[in-house]
Homo-oligomer: 276 residues x 2
């Protein structure tokens, strides 16, 4: 069970999600718990230092947690990475919650990406995807197996029919390239916070859980046979994605929100997991 | 100048666009004329037989034209392909107008794709893109040069701000994979036909012309240095796209709309241009 505070040092843990609405917190706890239970035989304990597991800026107006668990060397899982950020700004608050999983080159299966970016109680950018690790124009069988056969696009469609939901186009074209064609990439804009909570509980929750289930069943088990040179292309592709995540997502935000020292420390820990 | 009928046989030509609204016809005539003028030193005359240049079903409720001009062997242009289809159905009419250009493996530059799919006088699916010929997750410099530097996404944004314009998700995930992250892929839904004509004249026209200009300046001139094995990957990728265009776009529609014999004849001519 998750306590709301670490009793030893009185600061929130990753799985506390202290700044989320109840339905959102319930969802995150269930997603993290599902991944860690189902992959329990793969995952090693976290080895992050405490000042990376939880960090804040000088005035504590920005808070963040990082949660990384690497996997055994014989697992197709490389590591799982979860985090939340909470920042109060003059105009409101920013709340970013992430759950991702990376696979190694024992498999070419898609990775897992779940990102909830709240810019206020009535507005959220939601990205749920199994980002591909192959060029699917060249590898149609890959598209068929991981996206068409499990009807991943149906999950996107279930959210898209809500009047509060609009497609979201990331400002970075590279980030758009990295997503699958069935990615849930949407903005949810509600008139009132309770409607946002309702959508989280009634629609987003089931879509996120079903996508996670597809990933656990179809991707996290690994298995692939590579042609000559294909593993090298896969590893290069994976590395470029990780480098871009650091450059586009992290370097542009963490030092600004937490100061240079804290930002560098957290980015350093992520780069270590990324083997960059 | 374009006559409205071929005087010898009394049937419409490709550049007549007899079933389009005036602003839409003007746009198509200008796009085709711009491509053919600017590439005039590259392009050979059309060599299609008359029964492929214009075709119809038995009752003439479906009509179509095909326009293909191959290029000189030393040009980076492979060929340009234009077409329009007009079909009356019990519930209304379908009007598909296309202008595409394919490059050969002297260059890896993006090709040109412009498709206007009208399901009625107030509703249109519009796809304008420079579809990439590389995996841009691997080739970030390609993304930078052809999409970021000319700010292609700005064209998409200019249409997207109109309240009548919504993002369009092709039902085929493969077709979505083949588009660039800056593709204009939208549905335009208007309350009245004159508003559709207004949008065609005031917004779509300039967006399409600017995209064509970027393609003519940046892509159609060719030029690339390939690493070892890269040309083979490019040629394989191009071939897969062409095969999918035949399978997904053509085989599912032309025989149904025009009968098996006419459909096969037209698909055969396109496959010949595609070298399939």
């Amino acid at each position: 069970s998750f306590s709301s505070m670490d009793p030893q040092i009185g600061r929130p843990r990753f799985t506390d999600f202290p700044h989320l609405s109840a339905p959102h917190r319930d969802l995150m706890v269930q997603l993290v718990s599902t991944v860690e239970t189902r992959l329990s035989s793969h995952l090693l304990p976290s080895s992050l230092p405490p000042d990376v597991e939880y960090y804040q800026n000088e005035t504590a107006s920005s808070q963040g947690t990082l949660h990384i668990r690497s996997a055994h060397p014989d697992s197709p899982v490389d590591f799982i990475l979860g985090s939340w950020l909470y920042c109060t700004t003059p105009t409101g608050s920013l709340n970013v919650t992430t759950l991702t999983a990376y696979l190694n080159s024992k498999t070419d299966a898609p990775r897992l990406l779940m990102e909830f970016l709240q810019t206020g109680p009535t507005s959220m950018i939601l990205i749920l995807d199994l980002p591909p690790r192959r060029d699917m124009v060249l590898h149609k069988d890959y598209l068929q197996h991981y996206y068409v056969d499990p009807n991943l696009d149906h999950l996107r469609q279930r959210l898209q029919i809500l009047p509060e939901v609009q497609p979201y186009f990331a400002s970075s074209l590279y980030i758009r390239c990295a997503l699958s064609p069935a990615a849930v990439s949407v903005v949810i804009s509600c008139r009132a916070p309770d409607r946002m909570e309702e959508i989280m509980r009634d629609q987003v929750s089931s879509v996120a859980k079903e996508m996670l289930e597809i990933w656990l069943e179809r991707c996290a088990r690994g298995g692939v046979e590579f042609g000559e040179g294909e593993r090298e292309v896969l590893e290069k592709r994976d590395r470029l994605i990780k480098e871009s995540t650091v450059e586009i997502d992290l370097r542009s935000s963490l030092p600004r929100l937490f100061g240079e020292e804290v930002g560098s420390r957290v980015i350093g820990a992520i780069k270590e997991a990324f083997k960059l």
